[in-house]
């Protein structure tokens, strides 16, 4: 590893760096040094590093262009326990031991787990100020003094914004930095004001919601700090928001404008003044506006040779020209840079008068190693655009500025197109005062507003592309518009040549603005170049592309916060869960529930376990935890009428002590949910729902009660978690129950199918036992208060031990019910299936009215050849058809060459059956009930198998087994 101890490009004094803290870092394998307060970019420039990784497609040498988030070239991958890709070196604060590698436009996501903490905060405020420059600070002061709750966020490590880059600016007759310090102190002292630095507002959303990404420890190192979140996502609900987001400088588009050494003029000023770094020794400044004059003067003051300042305007403000000339800098007006020389870093700039197009002939070379360019300023209106504010093109500023402001949002300062300090301070004060007043806070004290003495700048010259070199614009392959995407003026012409006109289309065709930087330097330049290429009058006629969050990239880890791993989604378990875990159950997620899937014995496959569990249920006795079924307690004098209106079958006359299976359909007649309903009392029912449908059913019931039938005296309550349900299933279940419920007469005569009884179990636990069956076997469902669930399960296991009672999971439940042709809503139905399609016309009342009944007379729902639920028997009795497999009629070719294959339907459920001795399936098949006995093709991957259509009931069609 090579060592470079010195910072040859560091000024002896000045800057906002802490020279007492020397930090060592490596970049692309070489060790360098910098200071606290540096960014990686400023430390590299101080060390004399001129080039970063070559460009993404054309592999051209590139250097650092900017000093902030708009940097298009200097992307790095930051090493650490979890590498961070695609960070602009201009935004990475230097820390000791930092290690980074330069990227050619593409990073690599670290496959290792990010062990750092990320968290979120949810806060409300009256006024949110985004941007801590002169306008933002003035706004925060004005709003904060009114007593409003104010949050000021700024992406930098310290407040000040553009003032951090300044040298001679003065506010209130003192150095601007003094004012920044006093503003910060005052804001810190205000009890209702919160300051967030290193915090980027990345998204403005509806109703004043602003997402702010705060980097809390990134500047301290790459190793996570225990117990401290690395980054925090603030969800700020702001009643009013002040956008004081400043402006980004635009580059100029000329031949070979991408050489290392070509930098934005204000970035040069930032490096010189804020970081005490000289990005070059001999600099040419090229501008279209007033702002770069300060760069020239500050460069001279820092000891840099500035042979010439080139202004595209024929008549720049004389005072500025005089000031620069007095500093010994030649000023060429009405001129521009038309090309560069380099090896590959910049060695000379070619300057030519502008009014002769193709001016290379008259160009003169000026040797230099730094070219500071300013093509004008773009107000940073990404957040404004996200909030659906509209923009207009301002000819005198040659920039897009706010037009229609969204509600609750005001802009101030450079974001508004106001580029002089006095104007920024005035607008900031006004915006803060206005925002606070709109939020209900007015300051009675006379406003002590900060003042500066400068005047608004003279109009800029719009200069989108600069001729130079040979050929016409369609051949300008080194006039770069978007450095990160390697896109040029020639690319824009190619897009237009291909027929694109809209800026949105040209953006996608050229990929301009789609890089990590989202075109912060390139997008508006591209709009100007498009306007020229299309020959329209102004970039305003081209318009901007859509601004979408986030303003700068945020990691998924930050968006997830603490909602990772087992905290990603709530996990619901039954009171019997621990038993299932202790007995080796494999689990299945059903909605948020963990349900036992099957209980493998040691070395037992899933297939073997399920066959064993099925056999136990059919031949002896088996037990399942059915506690997850949704349960809704429905009470009130009109409860019966209410259920009559919702279910397709009747419930009003159901006897107390009885159960009935019911189907719920939406108004379109399609099956929505199903379950057994018990009538507990004349005015009280308990409806069970599917495990995953419980919440939706309750919400839907409430909708009808509250919005359609408020006159019905009915109340619904979810009691899913109040009850534990243990299903005891199989021919020997009655014998097991006899031990458990000694007070009950369990005979088929005394306790009929679809009845339920309230009783006390042998251990005194009150229970409600229902004779319902989802397997076709004799079965009892024991419902107890959930806190008794585990004890009752243990009692069932103890009582069943003599009968070798076998616990079973959802897979066995599915097999058992499918053998009987019982549906599972959501598996055998998909929202397009009616009860009639399922062969369940019997559940649809012909006599009473219910929601959606009219739909069954619609021509499409009444069609006799809809898809029907049928059974399928594979020709090969060991062939397990995949659920979702498509079904094709016999004789239909299924090769690629034969074209589209008409599908008859698909397999909805498919299992191996212990009791049948072969595989079987349920399927939805077009006109299926009229295809019984037909052989269908089932095309699978690489082969086609066959299956025969059957009735959907495979086992005990007569229902002889349910009474035991």
């Amino acid at each position: 590893m090579t060592e470079t101890p010195a910072n040859p490009h560091r000024l002896a004094r000045g800057g906002r760096i802490d020279r007492s803290a020397s930090l060592s870092f490596t970049f692309d394998g070489t060790r360098y040094h910098g200071h606290r307060g540096d960014t990686l970019a400023s430390a590299l420039l101080a060390s004399g590093v001129r080039t970063v990784a070559p460009s993404i497609y054309r592999r051209r040498a590139r250097g650092i262009v900017a000093a902030g988030v708009e940097e298009p070239n200097a992307l790095v991958q930051l090493d650490g326990p979890c590498q961070e890709p695609m960070l602009p070196a201009t935004t990475v604060e230097l820390f000791d031991g930092l290690s980074a590698r330069s990227l050619s436009g593409k990073g690599r996501l670290d496959p290792r787990e990010d062990t750092a903490l990320y968290d979120k905060k949810y806060v409300h405020c009256d006024v949110l100020v985004i941007g801590g420059g002169p306008a933002g600070l003035a706004a925060a002061l004005a709003a904060g003094r009114s007593g409003a709750r104010v949050i000021l966020v700024d992406e930098q490590n310290e407040l000040g914004g553009s003032l951090l880059s300044s040298r001679a600016e003065r506010i209130d007759h003192a150095p601007a930095s003094d004012w920044v310090a006093s503003a910060r102190d005052e804001l810190t002292a205000l009890p209702e004001v919160r300051l967030l630095t290193r915090a980027t507002a990345v998204g403005v959303h509806d109703h004043g919601l602003v997402l702010v990404a705060e980097r809390r420890t990134d500047h301290l190192g790459s190793t996570p700090l225990p117990g401290v979140s690395r980054q925090r996502l603030w969800h700020v609900r702001a009643r009013q928001t002040v956008l004081a987001t400043g402006a980004h400088e635009r580059p100029l588009v000329f031949a070979d404008n991408d050489r290392p050494g070509v930098m934005l003029a204000h970035a040069v000023r930032t490096y010189v003044n804020r970081y005490a770094v000289l990005p070059g020794r001999r600099a040419v400044v090229v501008t279209t506006n007033d702002s770069a004059y300060a760069t020239a003067i500050d460069l001279v003051a820092a000891g840099v040779q500035v042979p010439v300042l080139v202004d595209a305007r024929p008549e720049p403000p004389p005072a500025l020209v005089a000031q620069v000339r007095a500093a010994g800098v030649e000023v060429r007006t009405g001129s521009a840079v038309v090309g560069t020389d380099g090896d590959p870093s910049l060695t000379a700039a070619w300057i030519a008068p502008l009014d002769r197009r193709g001016g290379a002939a008259d160009a003169t070379a000026v040797p230099c190693d730094l070219l500071a360019v300013s093509g004008g300023w773009n107000p940073v209106l990404h957040l404004f655009g996200q909030a659906q504010g509209t923009l207009r093109y301002d000819e005198s500023l040659a920039a897009f500025v706010p037009e229609r402001r969204p509600k609750g949002l005001v802009t101030a300062g450079a974001a508004n197109g106001t580029c002089h300090l006095a104007g920024c301070l005035d607008e900031g004060t006004a915006a803060g005062t206005e925002a606070a007043a709109r939020a209900g806070f007015t300051d009675d004290a006379p406003p002590a507003r900060p003042r500066a003495q400068d005047a608004p700048p003279a109009p800029a010259r719009a200069l989108w592309t600069i001729p130079g070199g040979a050929g016409e614009p369609p051949t300008w392959h080194t006039h770069f518009v978007d450095l990160q995407r390697d896109a040029t003026v020639a690319d824009i012409h190619r897009a237009i040549g291909a027929g694109m006109r809209s800026v949105e289309h040209i953006k996608r065709y050229t990929t301009i603005g789609t890089g990590q930087d989202q075109g912060k330097t390139g997008a508006v330049v591209a709009i100007g170049a498009i306007a020229e290429a299309l020959g329209v009058g102004s970039p305003g006629e081209v318009g901007t592309t859509t601004f979408r969050p986030p303003y700068t990239p945020v990691s998924f880890a930050l968006l997830a916060g603490r909602d990772r791993g087992h905290l990603n989604d709530p996990v619901r378990v039954t009171p019997i869960h621990d038993w299932h875990v202790a007995h080796g159950a494999a689990f299945e997620d059903v909605g948020q529930w963990k349900r036992p899937w099957y209980y493998p014995r040691p070395d037992e496959t899933m297939e073997a376990a399920v066959l064993r569990e099925c056999r136990a249920a059919r031949e002896a006795v088996a037990v399942m935890d059915a506690s997850t079924l949704g349960k809704i307690d429905i009470q009130g004098p009109d409860a019966g009428e209410f259920l009559n209106r919702l279910y397709t079958n009747a419930f009003a006359k159901l006897k107390v002590g009885s159960c009935r299976y019911g189907v719920l359909c939406k108004a379109d007649g399609m099956v929505f949910d199903d379950g057994v309903v018990m009538r507990l009392a004349p005015d009280r029912y308990l409806a069970t729902t599917t495990t995953s449908g419980a919440a939706a059913v309750l919400e839907w019931m409430e909708m009808w009660l509250q919005t359609e039938w408020p006159d019905l005296r009915v109340h619904c309550t979810s009691v899913t978690e109040q009850w534990a349900t243990v299903a005891v299933v199989g021919p020997k279940s009655r014998a097991v129950l006899a031990h458990l419920a000694p007070d009950l007469d369990l005979s088929a005569e005394a306790f009929a199918f679809m009845d339920f009884r309230e009783t006390r179990l042998a251990d005194g636990v009150p229970a409600r036992i229902a004779r319902v069956s989802f397997s076709g076997e004799l079965a009892f469902e024991i419902n107890v208060a959930s806190w008794h669930g585990r004890a009752v399960w243990d009692a069932v296991m103890a009582a069943g031990a003599a009968y070798d009672i076998t616990p079973y999971g959802t897979e066995t439940m599915h097999v058992l019910r499918a053998e009987k042709g019982f549906i599972i809503v959501g598996q055998d139905t998909d929202g397009t299936v009616t009860p009639e399609d399922l062969g369940m016309g019997w559940v649809v009342s012909k006599r009473k009215e219910f929601v959606g009944k009219r739909s069954y007379r619609r021509p499409d729902t009444a069609r006799p050849d809809r898809k029907h639920l049928v059974g399928l028997l594979p020709d090969d009795p060991t062939e397990l058809l995949p659920e979702g497999a498509q079904l094709v009629a016999d004789g239909v070719p299924t090769t690629t060459e034969s074209g589209p294959v008409p599908m008859l339907g698909h397999v909805t459920s498919s299992y191996r059956s212990a009791v049948l001795g072969h595989t079987f399936a349920l399927a939805l098949v077009k006109d299926g009930r009229n295809r019984l006995g037909q052989s269908l093709q089932v095309p699978l991957v690489g082969r086609t198998v066959r299956a025969t259509v059957t009735e959907p009931v495979f086992y005990d069609k007569e229902g002889t087994r349910r009474d035991g």
């Binding site: 109703h207 004043g208 509600k407 359609e708």
Partner: protein, 92 residues
């Protein structure tokens, strides 16, 4: 994310709510008397205005009440909130 003024609980984040589509589309009094076209109109056809839209929401993760609000679909401004069955706007 919308900030929805539940008429019973006050301002809450949108994630607490369920959406119920256009409000004031009553279930037909006598569905069996409707033509297929009229029934299809009830089932499938809803307004899709650019501007104020009266819609139903339910505070699923709160009071479980359904209510109506008037939302400007162009900017999501909530113009009025009503408890179900009432016509006076609520300002919680």
């Amino acid at each position: 994310m919308l900030l929805i003024p539940c008429p019973w609980c006050g301002d809450r984040d949108e994630t607490e709510f369920g959406y119920g589509g256009q409000a004031h589309v009553p279930y037909p009094e006598a569905p069996e008397t409707l033509t297929d076209a009229e029934w299809a109109e009830y089932l499938f056809v809803r307004d899709n205005p650019e501007g104020p839209f009266t819609e139903q929401w339910v505070h699923t993760a709160g009071c479980r009440r359904w209510f109506t609000l008037v939302r400007d679909t162009t900017c999501n401004d909530i113009l009025a909130v009503h408890r179900t069955g009432t016509t006076n706007p609520v300002h919680p």
